[in-house]
Symmetry: C2
Subunit: 307 residues, 2 copies
Amino acid sequence: MAGVLSSAVHGNPIARIVSGSNPNRPLFFHRPLAVAVSTTHQSYWSSVNADIDAHLNKSIPSKPPLVVFEPMRHLTFSAPQTTAPALCIAACELVGGHRDQAIAAASALHLMHASAFTHENLPLTERPKPTFDHTYGPNIRLLMADGMIAFGFELLARADNNSNRVLRAIIEISRAMGTQGVMAGQYNESQLGESDGTEAFHVGWLHNVCSKKGGVLHACAGACGATLGGGSEEEIEKLRRYGLYVGTIQGILNRVEKNEWSIKEVKELRVLGLRELKDFNQEKIDQWRYNLISATSEYYIFNIFKQ
Amino acid sequence: MAGVLSSAVHGNPIARIVSGSNPNRPLFFHRPLAVAVSTTHQSYWSSVNADIDAHLNKSIPSKPPLVVFEPMRHLTFSAPQTTAPALCIAACELVGGHRDQAIAAASALHLMHASAFTHENLPLTERPKPTFDHTYGPNIRLLMADGMIAFGFELLARADNNSNRVLRAIIEISRAMGTQGVMAGQYNESQLGESDGTEAFHVGWLHNVCSKKGGVLHACAGACGATLGGGSEEEIEKLRRYGLYVGTIQGILNRVEKNEWSIKEVKELRVLGLRELKDFNQEKIDQWRYNLISATSEYYIFNIFKQ
């Protein structure tokens, strides 16, 4: 993928951020997926998302001290939803695992993402951005998001699965959120934010932000799900790369005005991503794609996977 | 301990914050311990702290991207030092474990504490406090501290120890940093900070902040060390309670002007704390205490453990 993006650098393509967009806005789309479908037509993805929501709802109780638990629930459930937690479950099931084996990791991934989103949107004195959610003040949002990271790791460490697999998943998630992943992407994204977010930016910046943020998060989700489901090393790496392509594509579509360059780039990434899936159970893969179209049409990815 | 503190509530004792203190200042004391002692006189505690420093130094490399790793190193090594990481190692060795079995957990505890300290001192728009360290701006300190939490869990998950013990330690640390521990203490402390930090405050507030912050951190350190060193459930719980008393005592001494009430309170907590140690190897315990006096005289606790 790096090749696909870096090859574009030589052609000196300059893209512009989607008009009016805020480089600090969420990478993804707001929950809920709001797909009012009957049970018989409920898609694979919406059933997975409903299970993750139910697990989070059960795990973060509304209990005293309410001053602590209510903000955590609010920040968890009001954060934008990403496709990474659902991909974690899907990868687990694709390698023959059971949904229960990956539900804690999927919930942890949402908590990590919701925490990162909360901190991205904090009004610091050097960055007095307007807040889009006034339910809680900056101080409590700062502290709660720290608590959400810790709670995500707790959920995962308590997961009912093989201890060594769980430890691998903890390492995957901690790396994805850290200096080689989301945190590095956030830092790079904030640097552009400081130049007001409207000027032309270079493909190198785009590559870094899209691959480090959504890319690494989804790569981690694919790898964690496959690990927790008992997949082979080869399956884990295929689903890691698939996740990287999915997350990077989403990042580009969410940040760049559609133009000849971005369409070409996304098409190439899509081919690479689909190639990673070709050795898996095609019946399950077909279910993924069909349902990704029918149930999550809000996703930009709709345009990519449409046959 | 709750009994000791709550019994004081009925006497309606009102304490004042140490004159000129900032309720958001670090609970503990700045590193290094700065004890210039010859090797032959090097105390148990300074040798433990040196090993933790060396482990952190090796674990957080100074490598590209420097824009990411340098701030993380800076925030890790410039943060105030607490006695919790050293207690984690001491507890491990007290139950018969080897230092290497707890070094990752001790390093993780310092990273968690350094992260919490960094976030406590961030200038938010609603809390434009002056910063005491201008090396890096608020945005990078915000992001790096998130990365430090994740990195702490990564270090621990990679630890060379029994998987089930490591998972227990991860759960201990995530709970200690979360809604039932440090995060809740920080929230309560910040509430007082908003009332300028000089007015009289109630023992209930003091109890909450001291036990949730330093208390829970040290309780976690004692329990993690004993768990990782292969201690029995009884040993784990004794060292958890011992840590709770140690951290709470430190919190009181760092926040309250010495007065009749605080001296009585601390003396009672000290008796309870020492009682938890009576069934352990007294030779090792004597080494702890002797050295805690000789090598860490900067600690307020010096006054407590002096025989």
